[in-house]
Symmetry: C2
Subunit: 367 residues, 2 copies
């Protein structure tokens, strides 16, 4: 039976993406689906296909190191699919951090890179602390603004553990993602207060205003907004990528033109700084203590970020992955456009084993 | 007339802090007051005095580099005042980042370090991007918890600009700082919903429960909590400092014992990565665009983080600094305890000029 990875590869090769690049994109997208983060998995293929066919995303060439030093580099993504460039950038950050302890790699001329958590995880599965972030077209309001002034700017981190799965947080600076607002609208459900800012700059729950006459609220007001500016600083201002209003919308703007997103990746070589067995014991102890914390009624156990995702992935590897209806619908439409078959919502995954899939105590499995 | 710096130095020397260390502590505390962040300025002298007199904070010795590599170091704070160690750590991060581009310096055996923003600013006033963070005793709940499981874990960043003041954000992971809750209680004002988690794990506005029967809510629920874990990871797990429940309370625990707080400092040598004139122009453009954003009724202009603080500082340098009543009261009590005089709430400041005080266009003034 064809796995989801095989299918994804087939679609990308049909779109003239090289096998090498298609494998990179596939691993990013299917890993994200396997976490249950379906908004940023294979569903994205449809939008990427439009840009690959129109030429705004290139299928030839390779990411290029534009400038570098011992603990940093700037990678020019050459308008290739952002997963290709982002994986290259994080790999370079990992390599440099193994040499000097810590490394920052910034990216320019990139596009929408999917789930930030995937890149953070690339570092964590090799025993390093990883961080990933990217900028985007403005969709989020600043405190006091009537329009969006900053992107939802995702950021993620991953910290490897010993007996536990890595801590893995992937978030945007919006109080709620635009996709969640759309989903509520589609299902006719009310928009919770605190999600949207109306055209007068005041909070609104009127879903008819989204997205053209409203913007997303930043989480934690000035704090989320302030984090967004840091992300733009490291992903775009410092890398040479487009900043806020200059970024192209990967979904809505002309598919023939590059979007020039930026991104930034950080890797910290944990083992250089503290012997790995000691670090493992210390991070495990922190996680154990949180698990032992007293819970409110209805909460079985306190979690650290990522636990739901690793449980979802283990289940998907064992029992197969059921794609939700909206993803199936998007993939079926894409298949029809490309004159390809798409027949099932239930997929098996390639039986790779990565650190997040590991049995307890068997850590730092490099795949 | 004696300046606030002179007075602060006199208090610290009275407490047997060496002149060298007293100068470092004074610059951190008075700069913070000058920003209008009075919760983390000279008011802290009282709590520090208790520990200096009891011996939990040492007055002899120097911070020691325990281990280091090209892009990182771990500094042992030797239970010295945390400002002394934190300034040494950020200076080391700045030095290393000038050599290799990016550097991380972690700190152990430290204490409450005051305002994180001060250390980020040390990097920014030399033209670098700076970040600072620290852990603390648990005061913040995780989603679903009935008790605090993590510290309020401050973090700050500063990004230097060209014609504009540096962007400077200093925040904690709590929805509202404990000090704000106390202030509301003291003034008999209602606690806004979303600030406190009661002993049943549910949100509460009952101020009588704070702090012994309630904890602070994390800002943005799982997002603030997740950032808090990252801060504990970089400040404490990786540095060898005490983690969460093992940290001593600098205010409430035995003053004779070290608290073993951790901290982490990051510096990015902007000028190595992008020519400084280009970076300046790009960050200024971002700030200009935000300033030009359309505002809601009652909001005169959109701000970037730090603008209020720089305006406060310029005014304080020019017209003097008026300490608020709670700070005056704490400092007067301390003076009485130490048999020193304390006569005024209105102080002049030493006429230092730093980047944040600069006239537009005159940037990277190193003081």
């Amino acid at each position: 039976m064809e796995t989801l990875e095989d299918y994804c590869l087939r679609v990308l090769e049909h779109l003239r993406v090289s096998t090498e690049h298609a494998r990179l994109m596939t691993d990013a997208l299917v890993t994200t689906d396997s976490w249950g983060v379906f908004t940023h998995g294979t569903k994205l293929l449809s939008g990427y296909a439009r840009r690959l066919l129109a030429g705004g995303l290139r299928t030839d060439g390779q990411p290029r190191v534009a400038r570098e030093g011992p603990a940093w580099a700037i990678v020019d993504g050459q308008s290739l699919p952002a997963q290709v460039t982002s994986i290259a950038a994080m790999r370079l950050a990992i390599k440099k951090s193994r040499e000097v302890g810590v490394a920052y790699v910034g990216v320019k001329n990139s596009c929408h890179f999917g789930a930030a958590g995937y890149y953070a995880w690339l570092a964590a599965r090799e025993g390093l602390i990883g961080m990933a972030m990217a900028n985007d077209v403005p969709s989020v309001a600043a405190p006091g603004s009537r329009q969006a002034v900053i992107g939802s700017n995702p950021m993620a981190y991953a910290i490897p553990a010993g007996n536990h799965d890595p801590i893995l947080l992937d978030m945007s600076i919006a109080a709620a993602a635009g996709g969640k607002v759309y989903a509520k609208c589609k299902r006719g459900e009310p928009i919770p207060p605190g999600w949207l800012i109306g055209p007068d700059g005041q909070p609104t729950t009127d879903d008819s205003l989204y997205p053209h006459q409203s913007s997303l609220a930043p989480f934690g007001a000035h704090k989320g907004y302030g984090l967004g500016l840091l992300i733009d600083g490291l992903s775009a201002v410092l890398t040479g990528a487009a900043v806020t209003h200059q970024v192209g919308s990967w979904l809505f703007d002309d598919g023939t033109k590059p979007t020039d997103h930026g991104a930034a990746f950080l890797a910290i070589h944990t083992d250089a700084i503290m012997p790995i067995a000691r670090f493992d014991a210390r991070i495990d102890k922190l996680i154990d203590e949180i698990h032992a914390g007293p819970t409110a009624a209805g909460c079985e156990r306190l979690l650290v970020p990522g636990e739901r995702e690793w449980a979802h992935r283990r289940s998907a590897l064992e029992h197969g992955l059921e794609l939700p209806g909206d993803v199936v619908s998007v993939l079926a439409d894409l298949a029809a456009d490309l004159d390809m078959d798409f027949s099932t919502s239930k997929w098996s995954l390639n039986p790779t084993r990565t650190q997040g899939d590991k049995p307890p105590g068997n850590r730092r499995f490099n795949c």
